[in-house]
Symmetry: C2
Subunit: 419 residues, 2 copies
């Protein structure tokens, strides 16, 4: 189990200059997106860098829900800059873009697909040394500050894929709850759904000792190991926090306790799924985001159609856990109970529906769009959605139950309307 | 929160040769003690090294409860060997000795006291790069595979002290439950008490945001940060395992489930206290071990008087938590409940006695010696015990309540007889 280095506390971001100084950094790349570049988290980081006398360049063209094209742009910037350290200030999109920039700038002769997950890319192991990267999350969902994963849309295949290697895990994550106060409510909700699904999927993933094939050399172990006694702790704990605080965090921007707790839950769930993996909600979410037509999420200030990652993940969750519950019904019931269900009279065979109903109620309370239909998808899109899921076997094979194409079709169909 | 890399599973030790190969090691130092050198865990490691074609030298003179002299002997061996990696197979004594050997062999011009904790040593920060160290714990108590701490008896002061730096944390811990089956029952009990106290002390340590002084630069942060939301998770989880499995693990050497669970609990509690710290039970334990006269623990095959670390720690626990409970009574009650107490009618002001009584019952059930008196200590020894505790301020200052010399005297006195 790889555990991540994070520092938690209100105001820890102010120390980033000293941290970089301690790492010997002299020329730093600060990555962020255009919205954030005007907001306090980036200002705090810049002030700290200036105070520590560290010279830096700002790259603020990170795309929300990045693509291979936007990754490439950031990589070019990183190559030209010849930086000796990176700071990423933002959500998953920014942290992931920065991980990719650091990787390819450190491995300048690699082709872009070399490190991208198979079967889309070559999935080569990373053997080059990378520069230090400090991640400062400003959303509470991705957990990217704790993981060795960078996700992007591979545009000409219209599908999400990524790079997964322990080597790209941030050197340090600064989990500073003060950054959560600027988040629009919809961003809090959607990023919270990502935490919810990280926790549920990693807790119900195939157990580490049932995964196959067993690699002959430990270096060939995948980043995602299956559920295990350590990731279980993180998953359950993150889920308890989601159950207690997500609604409060969404409804009241000034509820620092709730927003701080969700910020920490995001890191906790990240450590959990970063070791155990995710499965069907995430595997199916990539085409849901990738094939977006005209849907534009409320409160997201972007100039392109966008299904926020957390939304694309959570809409299939009732169908997915109905499907997987037969394998580990106790775990499904346990999570339903954490989310508020009364399971005293529930039978094992009802575990799936019980969890699904609990999730539907949870989403309804938060006024979430009524299924994939509300995002503009119809029955006719199901073949493309299935086709977009098939290459995600790196995650879908971690589901506790194998899926045929027919199964995937049925899961998408059941997710068209939720309530 | 700092990183600990562990791999858990029956048989993971067999992979150690490949792990070392993956780290580029060519000349490895294998450290263990004389008893273990004849037992399966060491044999498994040697077979794996041979299979991977890695040349190695064995140092089997580790002293159980090491001293500066025994550390020095191991350091000399390491310096002469010019090794490029280390494997420690054993309990805390072996892992700690190996950490020290790696550190001083990597920093050959340092004086021994340079890195030893102040005020006994100079407590210099470690800035030299160390060689990879793989720790293979064969007891279930120390958690040393996850921590940057190495403890020893400083002989001419008759007091325990240590080296604490993130730099000496093992590169990888192989937590293999198969190694727990050879452990004598008394070793299981005493090492389990260490887990119990790691969990209780780190959970009740002063909170990270109440610790002072707040260092101006993050590099000056101590290894022990005070209790925090992440260490709390590890502490509580470890405690639940202790409550459920320790008695079973002691009573039945063939109970693989119980012994495996305790092996993992040891690592969990290690990650917890490795970040949060321990306080009075540990601070007071060092003179209890260091001033030992003639007491020889049952089932420990050693040629010198010995109070096992876990025993020296747990005997003061009823007195210590009675003393500290007024600061965080809810946490004290919560831990009492986890350990089996019925707290439904307990009042906040009874938190100390409730936890103390629960601990006494727990120790009585496990037939633990009846207090410091049973170890050969009397009232006359209290001034020396207090004097030996005072230099332990690195840990004692993490207690939630400050202590005067009179307080320490009273705590030792209350620990002379338990039942």
């Amino acid at each position: 189990m790889a555990v991540s280095n994070i520092r938690y506390g209100a105001g820890v971001t102010k120390e980033v200059g000293m941290d970089l100084q301690n790492m010997g950094a002299k020329k730093v790349c600060l990555m962020t997106d255009k919205n954030l570049s005007q907001l306090p988290p980036v200002q705090t980081v810049m002030d700290s860098l200036v105070k520590s006398g560290i010279s830096f360049q700002v790259y603020d063209s990170v795309r929300v829900e990045p693509t291979d094209g936007s990754f490439m742009d950031a990589i070019e910037f990183a190559k030209k800059g010849a930086f000796d350290a990176y700071v990423a200030v933002g959500g998953g999109s920014t942290m992931d873009t920065c991980k990719a920039a650091n990787l390819y700038a450190s491995s300048p002769h690699s082709e872009f697909l070399d490190y991208v997950n198979a079967p889309i890319g070559k999935g080569k192991p990373v053997t080059v040394p990378l520069k230090p990267l400090i991640a400062v999350p400003t959303t509470s969902g991705t957990g990217s500050e704790t993981t060795g994963v960078a996700i992007f849309d591979y545009e000409h295949m219209k599908v999400k894929t990524g790079i997964a290697s322990r080597a790209i895990k941030p050197t340090l994550g600064l989990v500073d709850p003060l950054h959560t106060l600027h988040m629009p409510c919809q961003v809090v909700a959607n990023s919270g759904f990502d935490v919810l699904c990280h926790a549920l999927e990693s807790y119900t993933a195939i157990p580490y000792n049932m995964r196959s094939p067993c690699p002959s050399n430990p270096i060939q172990r995948p980043a995602y190991q299956g559920s295990n006694p350590i990731s279980d702790i993180w998953a359950v704990h993150a889920l308890r926090i989601v159950a207690k605080y997500l609604k409060r965090a969404v409804k009241n921007p000034d509820d620092l306790e709730a927003r701080s707790s969700m910020h920490l839950a995001s890191a906790f769930a990240g450590i959990g799924f970063g070791n155990a993996g995710v499965h069907l909600c995430h595997g199916m979410s990539y085409p849901i985001s990738g094939l977006v037509k005209t849907y534009k999420a409320k409160e997201y200030n972007v100039d392109h159609p966008l299904v926020p990652h957390g939304l694309s993940v959570v809409l299939t969750s009732p169908a997915v856990f109905t499907f997987t519950a037969q394998m580990f019904p106790e775990r499904h019931l346990e999570t339903a109970e954490i989310l508020g269900a009364d399971i005293r009279t529930a039978r094992t065979q009802d575990a799936g529906p019980v969890l699904a109903d609990t999730l539907r109620q949870f989403l309804f309370d938060l006024k979430v769009d009524d299924g994939l239909g509300a995002l503009g998808y119809s029955k006719d899109d199901i073949p493309s959605l299935v086709k977009g899921t098939l290459p995600q076997e790196r995650v879908t094979k971690l589901a506790p139950r194998a899926q045929s194409e027919e199964d995937l079709s049925a899961l998408f169909e059941a997710s068209m309307k939720l309530y």
